[in-house]
Amino acid sequence: MMSRILKYRELLLVAIIVVLIAIFSARAPGFASPESLANIFNDTSILMILALGQMAVILTKSIDLSVAANLSFTGMAIAMMNAAYPQIPLPLLIVMAMGIGALLGAINGLMVWKIGIPSIVATLGTLTIYRGMAFVLSGGAWVNQTQMTATFLNTPRVVVLGLPLLGWTAILVIALVTIVFTRTVFGRALYAAGGNPTAALYAGIDVGRTRFFAFVLSGALAGLCGYLWVSRYAVAYVDIAAGFELDTVAACVIGGISTLGGIGSVGGAILGALFLGVIKNALPVINISPFWQMAISGFVIIVAVLFNARQEKRKGRLILRDAAKSRSPLAEVPVEGAAA
């Protein structure tokens, strides 16, 4: 039942995305070509990865508004590290990025878990703090292409089987996160902790600790994206990915992750991100004036939410329909002795 409804929602999103691509390619031939689609996927990779981290947090009935700031800080830190010590091997740098990201996520998580600050407040605070730290760290200066090593910049661009490694990274993360969410104790605890925190407590799940690790996961993925972003755009500065936190939330919501916690699938979040990615990529391509872009994405988000809500609309308990199915003899008996 659950999977059926979820599948239905996802199918719908897939259909919408396909229709969008069809419309766009009618106006810009080549938009639907395999390279172009691979390109859109590649372009959306970072948003998808971030959305998965955000999803983990949202599942536990929290929100992480600091993902983009975290990305900015780790991106800056890693880029400066690469510039200062070009000899550090890339894998180590990536591990460091994820580690710094996880640490920043853990700070959010600790405030939510140990002090009990609502997540939206805690991350609203760290949103400004982390970005400010990126400024303090760099003194506001940029790290430019020339300062970074070629390996650092080019590895995510290496094309394997028609898709750059950046895209493959996203696929790997999606696969791992799917396993974590559906098959591990932690993953199921995410759903439980958000779906019904009291019940989770009674089931022996430490809701606070689960939230904490959701934030750590979100932070680690944001850290990874910090590296991916900087290498993709070959520059690091304080304002990178400004406002991106709202995109990750929008992707989750479009994908049917309930902001009330406990509901949603990895597929949904990915499709939500892809949906935004297609729109963002398509508008410049089909030559819509840049001034229209913002209004269109806003409009589309509202429509997507409307669509979702229509599906979610709680059906009644259907007492009567059940009655009709198992019609028992007494149900037919007219009201006996009813007051006139």
């Binding site: 405030m111 002090i115 009990g116 600050i117 609502p118 939206i120 407040v121 805690a122 609203l124 605070g125 760290t126 949103l127 400004t128 703090i129 970005r131 400010g132 730290m133 400024f135 303090v136 506001g140 304080v238 709202l246 939330v249 929008a250 919501v253 902001t259 009330l260 004036s289 001034f291 229209w292 872009q293 913002m294 209004a295 269109i296 994405s297 806003g298 409009f299 988000i301 509202i302 939410v305 409307l306 809500a309």
Partner: protein, 348 residues
């Protein structure tokens, strides 16, 4: 079996309140904020010789007056369990509409009407989607945030609207001493229109929230919308009204800001939504709904204004200031929780 044998006991007396008024005030959020404000005030006056200058302080109020006016309405909205992230975008759209009206030759009164009207319409749109259709407000307003500003961008493109009539400048730049009836006492000449508007709206929203049935219903809705509905409170209609109010106040802020800037671009008021929410939360409004006060938000606005002004005098870059604001937010929220925990730990 059906005779009454349950003996009724004399009912016990129940006092109205447990603690003394003094105890309640001292333990309150507002007291904490007052302490913080005083501390920052003192720190500022030590840090810079220019701080205690009436004209400087008057200029500094512009850092928070417009945002605070929105924050008052937002406070009511957040207490009712909703949020509006589109307020800054409403400013952009309202300002654009006013700019277009100027090009069409409208005069100041019409401009103000248009600014407020567009704010109201935007609020109605949000309210319709949230209260009527039942969509989650955080998502709806993330959408309308792009939509409203996007429309402004379509209209304006890379252009700017300017040429506002001179009389329009008064809302964002005027002093009350422009009026003959304003007292000419020393210190009163630095009072701006926006400061007066800030005080007046603080009073209006404070009374509305804390002294009227409407305000009480907002608390009931925010704490338990079901129980509110089952008590005959028109939950959806109340929420709709709150979105209208937030839209209207955004429209008013648009009038003030546009008047202060004297020009409209589509980037106007970028990023204000989070500052407004921060102000409300710092003022002790629970982001989960159900609690918060207007005096708290007034104090939070002043605290934020003092911090940014004080740091500005030391030429601290804005982004570093925002670190302080972020830390302040977390500390002020965390402090009472931690103190309470330590206290109950000590009691046990």
């Amino acid at each position: 079996m059906s005779t009454l044998t349950f003996e009724k006991q004399p009912s016990r007396h129940i006092p109205d309140k447990l603690s003394t008024p003094a105890g309640r005030i001292l333990g309150s959020w507002e007291a904490l904020l007052v302490a913080v404000a005083i501390a920052i005030f003192i720190a500022n006056s030590f840090a810079s010789p220019h701080f205690l200058d009436p004209w400087n302080l008057s200029d500094a109020t512009y850092n928070f007056t417009e945002k605070a006016m929105i924050a008052f309405a937002m406070t009511l909205l957040i207490i009712s369990g909703e949020i509006d992230l589109s307020v800054a975008a409403i400013i952009a759209l309202a300002s654009t509409a006013m700019g277009a009206a100027v090009q069409a030759g409208f005069q100041t009164p019409a401009l103000v009407g248009i600014g407020l009207g567009v704010g109201l319409l935007c609020g109605a749109f949000n309210g319709f989607l949230v209260a009527r259709i039942g969509l989650p407000s955080i998502v709806v307003t993330i959408g309308t945030m792009s939509l409203f500003r996007g429309i402004a961008q379509i209209v304006l493109g890379d252009q700017a609207y300017g040429g506002y009539p001179a009389s329009f400048a008064w809302f964002g730049q005027g002093y009350m001493s422009d009026f003959s009836w304003w007292p000419t006492l020393p210190g009163f000449e630095v009072v701006t229109f926006e400061m007066v508007a800030f005080v007046v709206f603080a009073l209006i929203f404070g009374i509305l929230l804390h002294r009227t049935a409407f305000g009480r219903r907002i608390y009931a809705i925010g704490n338990n919308a079901f129980a509110a509905q089952f008590s005959g409170i028109p939950v959806q209609r109340t929420k709709f009204m709150l979105f209208l109010m937030t839209g209207l106040m955004s429209g008013f802020a648009a009038v003030c800001l546009t008047s202060r800037l004297g020009s409209t671009r589509h980037t106007i008021a970028a990023g204000w939504e989070l500052e407004v929410v921060t102000m409300a939360v710092l003022g002790g409004v629970s982001i989960l709904g159900g609690s918060g006060t207007i005096p708290g938000v007034v104090l939070a606005a002043i605290v934020m204004g003092l911090v940014t002004f004080g740091l500005g005098l030391l030429n601290v870059p804005g982004i570093v200031m925002s670190i302080f604001i972020g830390l302040l937010l977390i500390l002020v929220i965390a402090l009472p929780i931690v103190i309470r925990r330590i206290r109950s730990g000590a009691a046990a």
